[in-house]
Amino acid sequence: MNIKDLLDGENRTSLFKQDCIRGKFDISGKIVKGSDSLTGGKTSFPDSLYNLLEYDDAESYLKKLSAGIPEKSHIFTLKTSPPVKVYWKEEKVAESLYYNFEAYPLDDDSVIKTYESHALLFGLQSGLPDLLLITEANGDIVYINPAGLKMLNIDKSQIANNFNIREIITNINNLDSILSRLKHGHVIQEIEVNFSRKESEDLIGLSSIFSLVRNETIYICFHVVDISERIRNFSEHMQNSIQLMNINEDLKNTQSRLLSQEKMASIGQLSAGIAHELNNPLGYVFNNMSVLFNYMKDLNNFVDHVRALYSSTDCDNLSLSNLKSMDENLDLDYIFGDLKELKNETEEGIKKIRSIINSLKSFSRKDSVLSFSPSNINESIKDTLVVLLGEYKYKIKVETDLGNIPDIFCNGLELNQVFLNILKNSIDAIKSENRVDMGLINIKTLKENSEIHIIFSDDGPGIPEEIKNRVFEPFFTTKAVGTGTGLGLSIAHDIIVNKHGGSISVEPLEKGAAFHIRIPFEEELESEA
């Protein structure tokens, strides 16, 4: 019996018949029927399981059977001489106390050890959708499974006549060295082996190659998965994925360009107002400096005269009265009086400039782009209002009702952007009404349980119910083309919802709209703060 016969399946039944014992026993272990192909009928068949099996095995086996503990199979050693190790299976005879049994000797040298593995292997090689090819050590093909014959477009009859695998492998030059390596028990995995075939392109196969030993004969087994289609599609797939990667890259670029465009748009729109707010104090600081130099000139002049007088020898009454009239002409009393005011007003201007610049800085701190740190939302709102002052101060009154809220762990820079975007929208909405009276924006902050609740309400035109749910969508805008990117509120939504785990919504008011933002925070920070 060689492996070829075995795999062909034709001799399978005789193989099993020849090599097995079978019979029938009852639950007490009494064998009522038995045939023995192993002993060739030379000796009589044992009348009890206790005489066939090792005593302990028989005892525990019968116990298990009577307890109804199912076991698929057993391995026992028969009390033959020499002892034979068998694979043992029983099946209960319906409505009786009898069991049919079958036992197959286990051959340690055999690749295929048991009935089940025979059956499995047979099913496997005939049902396997891949190519299974077995050669002798010299490469002569002894077996190709049905799927393999089809794949290679080979007739089964071809295999009989010294058909060597070298005739059909097209891409391996060092097959000999591979085969000799395999003889020593190596396994080669995932090697690409191509096979020529009639009237068709080569089969490109991903192969595992290993050796089998049966009856001291070495066989080489090729398991080949057909990847021809895959390889042919691969370049197409590659091209597709490169294209997709490019598209993805483009999208990312577009996204970051849009985000920076949105930032640039707001910087551009705000800079005029901020410049105006800086110009006013700069203007009067500048004017005051001119006046200060003028005063200094007068004071210098006077001091020069005083010094000339006390260094000269003729310090008489006339010189002193000259000095007095000079004092009066220069109006030094006025100068000294005004200097105080001038100093105060100039200081005020410089402080204003400094505060605007500080607020601007809180919008541009590079180091905090990604960082969360404890900060106070009220301060963020104040900074945002300073930056926006030039945008609203002539048209809108802004009232703030900033509650006593704790510092929370947040990204202050991003929250500034949220507040800026919402307030800018409100300001633009109110301005779009071209009304005579001043508009009104109210900002309220409060602590509710473990959330900071921020409400921005305005008395602008409001948001129509039908678009209420769309205002946070990217690119949704009601502003004229070119005036808004449509990203302001979607960025706000992203920052509040995705980055701070909060919520943002808009509610209509009798006149205008109210944006509600809720940002959760950890209570511990509050007690530390």
């Binding site: 410049a275 105006h276 006013n280 203007g283 009067y284 004017n287 101060k393």
Partner: protein
């Protein structure tokens, strides 16, 4: 003596302007008024030759004030001081000149003299 009315909503600007004009040599009588509304009332009752006003002010802004001043006295010269002087401002009939802000007092005085020549 020609009178000049300075209008701004920022009191410190007016104060610095007054200070500056008090140490400069010119020959004008200068008046300083905070905000467009008060200036508008002033123009109802007082005559002046030149109006120098800020553009952006709450309530009555520079342009509204210019319109009003020209209605009361078509000969009045109007200078608008503004940080952002767009073309629509230059073309406005009520405005004789637009100057960027902040502006040196000498340039303002030169402009006044030129407008009154």
């Amino acid at each position: 003596m020609k009178t000049i009315l300075f209008v701004d909503d920022e009191i410190n600007i007016l104060k610095s302007m007054r200070r500056l004009l008090s140490v400069s040599e010119h020959g004008f009588s200068c008046e300083f008024i905070e905000g467009g509304e008060k200036a508008s009332e002033y123009l109802n009752e007082n005559n002046c030759d030149v109006l120098i006003s800020d553009l952006n002010m709450p309530g009555v802004n520079g342009l509204m004030l210019a319109d009003k001043a020209k209605k009361i006295n078509p000969d009045i010269k109007v200078i608008i001081l503004s940080g952002d002087a767009g073309p629509e401002l230059q073309q406005n009939k009520a405005v004789d000149s637009v100057m960027s802000k902040p502006c040196e007092i000498n340039l303002i005085l030169e402009k006044i003299n030129w407008l009154l020549r």
